[in-house]
Symmetry: C2
Subunit: 461 residues, 2 copies
């Protein structure tokens, strides 16, 4: 916002180049880079090549790095004395079935007029090619105005995000020197529900556990054995039912160690979002927040940890009735973590809790299903305030620091492996139909997205 960054010229350049930018995006979207489908392996690589060549044409030093899976594209601008920033997106897309539910071929994208303005329709438009290109168009405009790219940029574009990112962690470890930056910008999320610009500054962590309790070596007749022999479904129900107290708090010893109350600024931001729990729950047929007593609904999903049973099975649950004492029972349980809760301690406490309920003649087995701590960004870093201000100016609405109830593994990986916080800023909308037929990305999201990055870049120079 100083003359030095020539922001106004860059924004004008973006506006003037919008048609060309859309043409480039459509070209990118035509590459069917479905990472989960081995038949599209070559297409994923083609998308990496397309991107690499785009970046090289802008003056980046760009390279395709092979991995055991799909390639990583890494690009650098010239070193300088600016704050080094990393930009992350992914160029692979979701599968397209059921194909018959698409109004047009998913990889023949087009710009469509809708009641809600122009949209780019096609697989990957919003997740994540359109979002990724908001970075690229911002860099392009900067170059056009300044004659050179901003210094100290690192770009990392992944081709396996829709396949669970199996190569990502090893890649980050191996290329840590090459990728190190002071902050990561991740463009793979959306605007806040009502279209308000937002920066996600905290994400809940996860502990996934599977527990199997085995009792008799076969299903038993509940007449002959009921009341005498261990019933693993009953034991499991008792153990899991006792995970929370009457106030909705998890009873594991030490569970809340590291959980912190929201600070005043964030509390004010969240309050201003006007989150309507009744409306949010109403859209899925519910109405009542059932979380921890004394917490606001947004705190429940963003700032409080929880324990949930994701699945349970045991005995006969089909048609009719079988009077058995089942031989075994199993459940999948996940904890969402906040603050500095330690996933391993919580896993241990959970296992100890379950074991207390299991009689000596039964066996219990646990399987670990992933986990990681919460990501809580240091919003006292002035970059956060600057980016917030930039978004506010672009969208004409107060931008907000928000949380997310889920885990976005890349943010945790950046923190853990590269030691840097992330700013999750995205321009998707709730109705973008990502992962579904007829995916779209609003042209406004694309255009204002690029303008947002230009403003953020300028504000951080």
């Amino acid at each position: 916002m100083t003359d030095q960054t020539r922001l106004d010229e860059i924004l004008a350049q973006l506006d003037a180049g919008q048609d060309a930018a859309l043409t480039r995006l459509l070209e990118f979207l035509r590459i069917p880079s479905i990472s989960t489908d081995p038949a599209h392996r070559g297409d994923v690589r083609d998308a990496a090549k397309w991107l690499c060549s785009e970046l090289e044409s802008l003056g980046f030093e760009a390279k395709i790095h092979d991995t055991p899976g799909h390639p990583m594209v890494v690009a650098h601008s010239a070193p300088g004395d600016a704050r080094p920033l990393l930009f992350y997106g992914h160029y692979d897309v979701q599968p397209v079935d059921p194909l018959e539910l698409w109004d047009r071929p998913p990889f023949e994208p087009e710009i469509q007029e809708t009641d809600d303005g122009k949209v780019i329709r096609g697989r990957g438009a919003s997740d994540d090619k359109g979002q990724l290109m908001t970075f690229v168009e911002a860099f392009r405009a900067w170059k056009a105005v300044h004659g050179s790219l901003p210094s100290d940029l690192v770009l990392l574009f992944e081709g396996e995000e829709e396949s669970g990112s199996p190569s990502l962690q090893p890649f980050l470890s191996e290329h840590a020197e090459d990728l190190r930056a002071s902050l990561a910008m991740i463009c793979d999320t959306g605007l806040y529900a009502d279209g308000r610009p937002a920066i996600t500054t905290q994400l809940r962590g996860l502990v996934g556990e599977e527990v199997i309790i085995r009792a008799a070596d076969r299903d038993l007749h509940s007449g002959s054995f009921g009341g005498l022999a261990a019933n693993p479904v009953m034991i499991l129900a008792q153990a899991l039912g006792a995970l929370k107290d009457g106030d909705g708090r998890v009873v594991l010893p030490g569970f809340y160690d590291g959980v912190e109350d929201l600070d005043e600024d964030l509390a004010r931001d969240w309050q201003a979002l006007g989150f309507d729990a009744a409306d949010f729950l109403g859209r899925v047929g519910l109405s009542e927040p059932i979380g921890e007593k004394g917490c606001t609904p947004l705190e429940m999903v963003w700032n409080r940890p929880t324990a949930e049973i994701n699945g349970i099975a045991g005995g006969y649950a089909g048609e009719g009735f079988k009077t058995v004492l089942p031989a075994e029972a199993r459940a999948k349980v996940s904890f969402r973590l906040t603050g500095t809760q330690d996933p391993q301690k919580i896993r241990d406490a959970f296992r100890a809790h379950i074991r207390r309920f299991v009689p000596a003649d039964c066996r219990v087995e646990f399987h670990e299903h992933g986990g990681g701590p919460a990501s809580v960004m240091d919003v006292s870093d002035p970059a956060f305030a600057a980016a917030k201000q930039a978004l506010t100016e672009e969208w004409g609405r107060e931008a907000a620091f928000i949380g997310a109830g889920g885990s976005i593994p890349i943010a945790g990986d950046f923190k853990e492996i590269l030691g840097m916080d992330s700013m999750l800023i995205g321009f998707g909308r709730d109705d973008d139909r990502i992962h579904s037929p007829n995916e779209k990305y609003n042209v406004e999201s694309f255009a204002r997205g690029a303008r947002s990055w230009a403003r953020i870049l300028a504000s951080l120079r």
Copy 2:
């Protein structure tokens, strides 16, 4: 045991006629009266006819009664002034698959020598044709000695027992006058585990319930909704886990109304059985009685009610992990009842208990899966002591009054519809392989079984 009944002569007659009796049983066993298989409908009827003609040849007035399913055979001896007794057995048999596991064709029975003495090998040998014929042979010997049958006998032989007895209740209601007796003798059970003769004098009742809790109208992402939205699996676990307290007692209000402590005589009988819970449980891979604190293991299965979860399902329980809040959860729950517990009150109390855990925005649905009260015979009726004494004399071992943890519906039906208690006396052994390939019945069981009924008949005249 008086001269008048000429018991010694009858027993001698039975011993002398054993080969002929076995020949008759083998003939009966050759009829493949599988009631669940429509292809064997004619065979079931043939077995009824065979039986009817046997009974007529002994002087019974016997009749085949058609039902919507398979026929009932009802027979009467001449009216007199003795205590009217009903004898129940069933002439249908289980299916025979897997056929390849049989050592010989299931309907080509033979007498085999084994390490454990002679056995009758073939489908139905133990369940229930061989047992049913112990009645018939006892009546035959009585007739041979006395020149006429005992008076006041009512015989009811069913052809649908292995198909769930769909016609039985309506038949009992319709023919209540014809079937009324002071006591029913049911020969479809076994000796006590170690071969001790026994009379089952109490059976637990049953309440079967299915509960379904529905929350959101779809599975929800546990990141976006966890801690805020209702999780029906967690609610179900909490509700079912709270059914019992730490002492293994069911917490439903009024649940124990009608449950009575064992009287001293029964307690002494049960004690004398020397039930070895560790051995009993050890055979199914367990070791520890987990029932109500302060109860003996036999009480737990025979004289105490219980609540068991027979099956549970909800959410994702397959390979891997899905972080969902499931849309619904379901469980099948059964209660085993003792004493005069009221099934309907317990069903109501269970439903009220579950409802207390279900938030206002979730729905709960219940399905009734059968039920009936416990059967507790009035052992102060001198017939019980007399039969016990008769069994003790025949087997040379103290006979016992025992309980059963399961429900034997026919005993409940006799009580409810005909107002009479039952004596469940049978001579099967644990290794008879009923319902399995290579079913057998020990010749000793057959011979001593018939002698037992002769003694019981004599003692009740």
